[in-house]
């Protein structure tokens, strides 16, 4: 019960802390409008389904991904920079709970940013939001958010263990847009790049959302994307746990938590 309360508190406090940063405000409130406008100008006029899959979902996902990259992935590193990492680490609440709380908070902001992008495209550019099966879409979206939160957990720890965290953080934004097929299908990429796409959860996450918003919903394709996303989520949970133990060891045995 105490852990649940701590988690909720962490989520609320972190939501306030994140949005206090001017750059995060830009990512949540302004950048989705830029992405959406760019995407609609590039696509111009196309079928409602194509526009929904690649402009609405694509730019919404870009907004969601940016909130993950520029916050969840670098939150531990930010605490290190502030000198508060050790204090959080030795507090009675397990560090993993604090970290998960931070990630949920940022994912919620990412979701708000994604919704903002949908609303903007709907009302400013009069795009049709083709939710043919709204409940299936909502269920899929919930699972997608969970999966991306797990991926964020992995990234946060991977970046904590790497000295080049900030450079990597700035670097991975566009490659993920590209490799995971946010604005165009990954089948358009060279075969060797598609191999990388398949092991990244955002690829299957957006694919699942596209599959459940197709007019002729095919249970086979949905099941395929869903299974792939579940498998990757489990894989990244295992890697995340391994990285967490590595970081824990680094802190307790080597005393190097704050200095790489």
């Amino acid at each position: 019960m105490n852990l649940a309360v701590s988690l909720v508190h962490t989520i609320l406090v972190h939501m306030k802390l994140s949005i206090a940063r001017p750059m995060f405000k830009f990512i949540i409130w302004i950048s989705p409008l830029f992405y959406s406008t760019l995407a609609i100008f590039i696509y111009g006029k196309d079928s409602p389904e194509t526009l929904f899959h690649y402009v609405v979902l694509g730019s919404g996902f870009m907004a969601l991904w940016s909130s993950i990259v520029f916050s969840s992935a670098s939150d531990v590193n930010r605490e290190r920079f502030y000198g508060t990492l050790e204090i959080i680490f030795i507090s009675p609440v397990p560090f993993a709970v604090t970290l998960i709380g931070k990630i949920i908070a940022n994912t919620l902001w990412g979701l708000i940013s994604m919704i903002l992008s949908f609303v903007y495209l709907k009302f400013v550019f009069q795009l049709e939001l083709v939710f043919y099966h709204p409940w299936v879409f909502l269920a899929a979206l919930l699972f997608v958010l969970l999966s991306l939160a797990v991926f964020s957990f992995f990234l946060a720890l991977a970046f904590t263990l790497s000295r080049q965290a900030e450079a990597l953080m700035n670097f991975i934004e566009y490659p993920i847009y590209l490799i995971c097929g946010f604005l165009f299908p990954i089948s358009y990429l060279p075969a060797w790049v598609q191999g990388i796409s398949y092991v990244l959860p955002p690829t299957w996450a957006i694919q699942l959302l596209r599959d459940v918003t197709t007019e002729t919903l095919s249970s086979q394709t949905v099941l395929f994307s869903f299974t792939a996303l579940v498998s990757l989520t489990v894989l990244y949970i295992l890697i995340g746990v391994y990285f967490y133990r590595l970081m824990d060891k680094k802190a307790r045995f080597h005393g190097k938590l704050g200095v790489y």
Binding site: F26, I30, L38, F41, L168, N170, Y174, L178, Y188
Partner: protein, 262 residues
């Protein structure tokens, strides 16, 4: 002659001070791989959507846009890093002419922007199996140099904002996004609403992007003189405004002593 040498030396030293301490790996990630990933993303996207039509123009326009990293973020860091390291009051108190000082500091970033854009174009040409003639390359070099000079002027205006605002990441990212949107690098310019097209006329790179597309897609050189002249004038205006803002900040720092406060 000595003044010219001092001008060049100052620009070089300032640039070295900004990046000299960086790990080469980080420098390559930030200054080479990151812009190239942006170029590949937009080039692949337009290639998919427009089915390869006018691809060379779009790839080159996106390569030009990569200069934003130097012309906006680099130039901005000329002022922000001095403030961060506590050397800004010393720089502002020096008897040396401030316009000349900041112009010399901008030169290295303009040249670096040109190199980044050229690397991007070279990479795009190889990736998409495109080709470009020597004449086209030479004209583009001149156009891009003028466009990047103009963008650097706007970058310096933004840099002066850091003398008053603590939210520089917000301003710089906002400007970078605006330039990407208003330049029309990824779509026909006419696709934007008229009010955005009008706004685009007052931002740098718009003319550079248009000329790049005109030359590479249509072989049309007829607008080069006019648009290039406008781009240079725009750049001079931006630098003049930034010098006025610096003068005002200098005055405020002397009268209020608040230069290092937000």
């Amino acid at each position: 002659m000595e003044a010219v040498q001092r001008f060049i030396r100052h620009g070089f030293l300032s640039y070295k001070a900004l990046f000299g301490w960086l790990d080469p790996k980080v420098y390559i990630f930030v200054m080479v791989l990151s812009p190239i990933s942006q170029l590949i993303f937009f080039s692949m996207l337009v290639n998919y959507v427009y089915k390869g039509e006018n691809l060379l123009g779009y790839v080159a326009a996106n390569a030009l846009l990569l200069c934003v990293l130097n012309a906006v973020f680099g130039i901005m860091s000329v002022i922000t890093s001095d403030r961060w390291m506590g050397t800004l009051p010393l720089v502002m108190a020096t008897p040396y002419n401030k316009a000349s000082l900041f112009l010399s500091r901008s030169i290295a970033h303009v040249l670096n922007g040109l190199v980044t854009a050229a690397i991007g174009l070279g990479f795009g040409i190889i990736l998409f199996h495109l080709s470009i003639s020597f004449k086209e390359g030479l004209v583009l070099l001149i156009i891009w140099l003028c466009s990047i000079f103009s963008a650097a002027g706007l970058g310096l205006i933004l840099g002066t904002f850091c003398l008053w605002s603590p939210s520089m990441h917000l301003w710089s990212n906002l400007l970078a996004s605006l330039l990407l949107l208003l330049s029309g690098a990824n779509y026909p310019y006419s696709r934007m609403p008229e009010w955005l097209q009008l706004l685009g006329q007052f931002t740098p790179l718009t003319r550079g992007v248009q000329l790049t597309k005109d030359i590479l897609n249509d072989g049309n050189y007829s607008n080069v003189a006019v648009l290039l002249g406008e781009e240079i004038l725009l750049g001079i205006a931006f630098f003049a405004i930034s010098f006025l803002l610096l003068k005002f900040a200098e005055y405020q720092s002397r009268s209020k002593g608040t230069m290092e406060f937000d």
